[in-house]
């Protein structure tokens, strides 16, 4: 498994990582969340030795990660980049060979991935001739070409249309299912909630929430209420203790409330207050958890 322990890194006087600790196991998928500038990219780069952390450790199966381990990892950086004038197939083969594949294995794998992404007929096109979406696919193929043991993707869903995002999701799920450790960062919390069993939320350089999505939701000190009612809901809501946050969208009120608030009798009171159109009381969504964690 990948274990990141107590990582510290500063750039000048900006603290990028401040005791960041998390792990990813083989066959699991970790959604790595955090607001902009929280340290996601820095943490991911540290796995590949692209930044030198001042303190802490990054290990794979309890071993210090060297270039030999890194060749068995796949990486899709936030800033996508390929050789624009190099043919798609040649490019993938080259990156495969840099990771130690034989010429024929690399070439075969490149063909398989291009096939998978419906790019088989574009294999000899220079990458710059491909559409933005297809370039993204080649970039993903570049991370997968050597069948990595650990897959690290920085914002893989950004800029993808819904269909492409679905393919991306399928591939990540597939990779995890066959035993790859997968970690990716994203701002699309619904995608993460949908895909990942595990999440870690980083804020100001350290992990503030970590665990399986289900555990986190169950253990969260908050609950999520949606209420839509004819008439004024304000006096009704005022009767509740521990409201943390309310958003109004039309007549729909979304309320984040302390988990230990006594809800008995609330539904009856609501029905008395007017015709009740919609009422849910659930564990919080990942977005709720995220907002709570980073505020």
């Amino acid at each position: 498994m990948l274990a990141i322990q107590d990582l510290h890194k500063t750039f000048g006087n900006v603290v990028a990582l401040d005791g960041c600790t998390f792990g990813v196991e083989r066959g699991r998928m970790l959604g790595f969340l955090g607001p902009n500038g929280a340290g996601k990219t820095t943490a991911m780069r540290s796995i590949f030795g692209l930044i030198h952390h001042e303190k802490g450790s990054v290990t794979w199966d309890d071993n210090e990660i060297t270039i030999n381990e890194r060749r068995r990892f796949g990486y899709m950086p936030e800033e996508r980049g390929l050789y624009p004038k190099m043919k798609a197939h040649d490019q993938l083969t080259y990156l495969g060979r840099l990771r130690g594949m034989s010429a024929s294995d690399a070439s075969k794998s490149a063909d398989n991935w291009l096939e998978r992404f419906d790019l088989a007929d574009r294999r000899t096109d220079p990458v710059e001739a491909l559409s933005h979406g297809n370039q993204q696919r080649v970039q993903l193929a570049a991370a997968l070409i050597h069948d990595p043991e650990l897959l690290v993707l920085d914002e893989p869903f950004s800029g993808l249309d819904p269909i492409a995002a679905e393919t991306m999701g399928d591939i990540l799920r597939e990779q995890a299912a066959k035993g790859t450790a997968v970690v990716f960062s994203s701002h699309q919390l619904d995608v993460v909630e949908d895909l990942c069993e595990d999440v870690a939320i980083i804020n100001r350089g350290s992990i503030v929430v970590e665990g399986t999505v289900k555990q986190l939701k169950d253990a969260a000190p908050i609950r999520h209420i949606e209420l839509d009612i004819d008439g004024d809901p304000e006096p009704l809501l005022a009767s509740l203790d521990g409201i943390r946050h309310t958003t109004v969208n039309g007549s729909m009120h979304t309320v984040i409330i302390d988990a230990d608030t006594d809800m008995r009798g609330f539904l009856a009171r609501a029905q008395n207050a007017g015709r009740l159109r919609h009422f849910t009381y659930t564990t919080p969504s990942l977005s709720d958890l995220f907002r709570e964690a980073v505020q």
Partner: protein
């Protein structure tokens, strides 16, 4: 996977991608054409006969023209065309002759064997014809003096075209073998152009990888120094292929056209050039590589490499000085400054004017500098590659790699 095999993968990509690129094919073809042109065109021009038409007024012009022809053609080999052919057109008066001169029908007008009229002075053609006629006239006067003292007038031409002094050189070159200088100069030009050209490829190649961000993917599985080493090896191999090819084509063309007799062009001259090309290229390539890593936009690449380009220009000028005075202070100092040595030493070697110990010491110094530079440049390269934004300062890059 060993470091060597990774470096080879990187080098191979440079070779196949660049070798197939239009830019490489075009520079190869253009360079070869240029070299062929430089060799063949002068031999074509040199092979022809210069032709002049001289207007003549009055008496005494014929002997001057004849002497001028004889003097100029005295050195011709029997099987060659003669170097110069002068025809004479008679005019009745100066006005007609001057009109013909103005119209370009004649190149000069001789008047009574004592005056020459040309369109203007300062032009190459006019100066050439005047000096030709002056020499003819001088020898005519000499003939008169000689015949007055009772000698045969025909000896004058023989004496004037002979080289009575025997020439020997300290370096043991054959007399009349000026080819060494020509060779040194041609070699210097080739070296200078090649080192800067391929150095610039390194520079822009490094900046390009940074600007299109592919470098982050590469560095996730390759160490920075391996990437730089592979790039230098790949471009170096392409460079040597182009460079050696150019030299060989030039030599073959020289032999075929017989433009120069070049006994000195042997294996050793070619080896000297190639060895110093490799040394010079390596030295400049590591520096250009480090410079290229400091900037993330192609527009900034040339600026950041300016100090290196300037050093190469300085080396070039020291070499020109060495060409004229291969034992002089500038030449010797240039030999022991590693950044100028790749330009200066081959020139001195071609002129046979460098002691062996200086030659060897210079190679050792250059090699040591390459080794030192590789460490320094490699660290700057590693520290600067992932820093985007403006131009990374050397100090920042240095420190960033250390952290």
């Amino acid at each position: 996977m060993t470091a060597t095999s990774i470096i080879w993968q990187v080098a191979r990509r440079e070779i196949t991608e660049r070798g197939r690129s239009k830019a490489y094919l075009i520079t190869t073809v253009v360079t070869l054409l240029l070299v062929l042109g430089l060799v063949i065109v002068p031999s074509l021009l040199g092979g022809g006969t210069e032709e002049y038409t001289i207007g003549s007024i009055g008496e005494g012009n014929q002997p001057i023209v004849e002497s001028a022809e004889l003097l100029r053609n005295a050195g011709d080999e029997p099987e060659d065309e003669e170097s110069v052919a002068i025809s004479i057109v008679e005019f009745g008066n100066l006005e007609d002759a001057e009109t013909a001169l103005a119209d370009g029908e004649v190149d000069a007008v001789l008047v009574d064997g004592s005056e020459v009229v040309v369109e203007s002075v300062g032009g190459f053609g006019d100066s050439a014809v005047v000096s030709l006629l002056q020499r003819g006239a001088a020898s005519v006067e000499l003939e008169v003096i000689v015949s007055e003292s009772g000698q045969a007038a025909t000896d004058v031409i023989d004496v004037m075209t002979s080289d009575p002094l025997e020439t020997t050189t300290l370096s043991g070159q054959e007399a009349g073998d000026e080819s060494a200088g020509v060779l040194a100069y041609a070699g210097l030009m080739l070296l200078y152009i090649a080192i800067l050209l391929y150095g610039t490829w390194i520079l822009t190649g490094v900046t390009e990888e940074k600007s299109n961000r592919v470098v982050e993917v590469l560095l996730s599985s390759v160490k920075p120094w391996q990437l730089l080493a592979g790039k230098i090896a790949g471009i170096g191999i392409l460079g040597i292929a182009q460079f050696t090819g150019t030299i060989l084509v030039a030599i073959v063309a020289l032999q075929l056209t017989g433009a120069f007799e070049l006994p000195n062009i042997g294996v050793s001259s070619v080896v000297t050039l190639v060895v110093w090309f490799v040394l010079g290229f390596l030295l400049y390539a590591v520096m250009f590589g480090a410079a290229g890593s400091l900037v993330s936009r192609m527009e900034d690449a040339q600026n950041v490499a300016f100090p290196m380009s300037l050093t190469a220009v300085a080396g070039f000028f020291v070499s020109i000085a060495a060409l004229n005075d291969p034992d002089g202070a500038a030449a010797v100092i240039g030999t022991f400054i590693p950044l100028t040595a790749p330009f200066v030493v081959p020139v001195r070697a071609a002129l046979d004017a460098i002691p062996l110990w200086q030659y060897l010491l210079s190679i050792v110094m250059v090699l040591a500098t390459i080794a030192g530079m590789t460490l320094v440049a490699g660290r700057i390269y590693a520290g600067a590659l992932l820093r985007y934004g403006g131009r990374t300062k050397l100090r920042e890059a240095w420190r960033s790699a250390a952290e």
